[in-house]
């Protein structure tokens, strides 16, 4: 089996994919958005609860998707808690650059360094959107949009 496949499907991704964290709807979310990938029909909903201090108090998601999108959403929702909207946006920007290969060795920040396990998607152009769909959806939720599409 090829090395880039082993790089893509690392144990930590398979674990998040099979047992996603924060995988539930949120009744009292302040921001939520639906993300669609029309290429494959994958859909997910991101829920954010913004605290009075302007930081993410809670983040969760529901949806159906491949191991890459599930793992990405799982790790993202874990990392969002305690961050401001600006910090979340900055994390998205760095993550996006990593996935598209736009910037080699992009600085993800100390806590978000664990996202680097998803960098294997660079070798799979059709799968980049799987990794970034939850993030685009999160940004849409922060901006007050209801729905986004990756196309």
């Amino acid at each position: 089996m090829s090395d880039d496949l082993r790089e893509l499907y690392q144990e930590v991704i398979l674990d998040h994919g099979k047992h996603p964290r924060n995988f539930h709807a949120c009744e009292d979310a302040t921001n939520e958005a639906r993300g669609n990938n029309p290429l494959c029909g994958d859909q997910l909903v991101i829920y954010l609860k913004m605290g009075e201090d302007g930081k993410v108090a809670d983040a969760s998601f529901v949806g159906k998707g491949c191991a890459i999108s599930m793992a990405s959403a799982s790790m993202m929702t874990d990392l969002l808690k305690g961050r401001t909207a600006e910090e979340a946006q900055a994390m998205f920007d760095a993550f996006h650059k990593m996935c598209t290969g736009e910037e080699e060795d992009v600085d993800l920040g100390e806590e978000a360094e664990k996202l680097r396990v998803l960098s294997g998607v660079r070798e799979f152009p059709t799968r980049v959107k799987c990794a970034t769909l939850p993030w685009h959806t999160m940004v849409a939720a922060l901006e007050g949009q209801d729905e986004i599409s990756t196309e």
Binding site: S2, L5, L39, C40, G65, C66
Partner: protein, 415 residues
């Protein structure tokens, strides 16, 4: 004609057939290419590739215009293809053979020209749950514009049309029944003879989407009695960019043009234009000339092998694939109708179709994974997506063995 002698229908030799398709000798990620995505678009035999090249190298000019030798010659070849297609689907006249870009454009042509002009608010169009988006969305657009009613006939869990429920949807307001001849996702073959008979009994016209069926089943539009029949050239081993609308002459005659421009007119003044005769009334602008001629070569190639022999070979491959896949751990086939052809869709209970497709791609196996432009069907079958392996006239057991072997890699990661 040499092809006919080489591949007599009595002894279908798939390895010889594979030799006619240059792309099948290449590798993908260093592995022999196992191309199991012909239902999305089929590969092209050398005869088609050579024909297209020959047109451009030797005989290219615009059609229906030039008063010089090569323009007349290419016009003859282009119009000759119309006769090849007429014969292939059993139409009464080449006036009934309209070139389009693809089946999607053909359906849209009918929706715009027939639908806008002959359907009134409250009239009904009946489709089924297993339709491709190309046979759903144009009718929704017509519904939103004209206030027609779109009714959807249900299918069983096996993927078969429920005839009694279909018949219940028919009534005096039914003006059109538009159905796939064969499901692009599940391979189900619909009982179109029965559908056409019942639809005609209430005075409705019938459009058959033949994209998937035309490569496996001999078509005779007059025997079927359908009013419209559509397909795409690229799934029939021809070039992309060329498709077909068959329509009964009296209907096409009554229908106004879909697009205006050159080639579709008889005369033009700033006050008024008059339309060309059939089929040119529906063919505005310079057509896909080399692609049409290439489609003719593809049909000659298929005829040389014989659709009956092709169908038998594909049925053997489908049986083999179904057997091999059914015994695979955690695999469930979506679409188990007794009457089906050339397509096997499946899901694994421990891996998403996209992850499966990515992993088996690295083993040289090309399949489609996703909703196959049939999202309502995915909802009906309660799956987000499927993996679809589809069989063409060149598919052999090694292709299927490669698929099953590569699924072992998926199991290693996810099982």
């Amino acid at each position: 004609m040499a092809d006919t002698a080489m591949h007599s229908p009595a002894a279908y030799d798939v390895e010889t057939v594979r030799g006619d398709f240059p792309i099948l000798s290449r590798t993908m990620h260093g592995k022999p290419l196992a191309f199991l995505d012909s239902a999305a678009s089929a590969q092209k035999p050398r005869a088609v590739i050579d024909t297209v090249r020959d047109v451009y190298e030797r005989e290219y000019a615009n059609v229906h215009r030039g008063l010089y030798e090569i323009s007349e010659a290419v016009t003859d070849r282009y119009e000759g293809t119309r006769e090849t297609i007429r014969d292939f689907i059993g139409a009464a006249s080449t006036k009934e053979i309209v070139f389009t870009r693809n089946a999607t454009e053909s359906v849209n042509l009918v929706a715009h020209s027939f639908g806008r002009n002959f359907l009134e608010e409250g009239d009904e169009v009946v489709i089924t749950e297993l339709e491709h988006h190309a046979n759903i969305v144009p009718w929704q657009m017509l519904r939103d514009e004209k206030g027609i009613v779109l009714k959807v006939a249900p299918i069983t869990d096996d993927g078969e049309l429920i005839m009694s429920a279909f018949e219940d949807l028919l009534g005096p307001r039914t003006k059109l029944v538009a159905v796939a001849h064969m499901s692009n996702v599940m391979g189900t073959i619909l009982p179109v003879e029965d559908i056409i008979r019942r639809a005609h009994a209430v005075g409705a016209k019938v459009l058959i989407d033949g994209c998937q069926s035309v490569t496996h089943i001999p078509i005779d539009v007059q025997a079927l009695g359908c009013d419209f029949f559509v397909f795409s050239g690229h799934k029939l081993y021809g070039p992309s960019g060329i498709g077909l609308l068959y329509g009964r002459e009296e209907l096409l005659d009554a229908m106004p043009p879909f697009m205006g421009g050159g080639d579709m007119i008889s005369s033009v003044t700033f006050e008024k234009s008059t339309w060309a005769r059939l089929p040119h009334k529906f063919e505005a602008g310079t057509p896909a000339i080399a692609q049409a001629i290439g489609l003719g070569a593809a049909i000659d190639y298929v005829n040389g092998l014989g659709l009956a022999a092709i169908g038998q070979h594909e049925a053997d491959m489908l049986n083999y694939a179904t057997q091999q896949l059914s015994s695979f751990d955690g695999l469930r086939i979506i679409g188990t109708a007794p009457n089906k052809a050339s397509v096997v869709s499946f899901v694994l209970d421990y891996a998403h179709p996209h992850d499966i497709a990515t992993i088996i791609d690295r083993a040289g196996v090309a399949v489609r994974a996703g909703h196959h432009c049939a999202q309502p069907l995915m909802d009906r079958m309660d799956v987000p997506a499927t993996v679809r392996a589809s069989i063409g006239l060149y598919t052999n057991k090694s292709d299927i063995d490669a698929l099953v072997g590569a699924l072992g890699d998926v199991q290693e990661f996810f099982g």
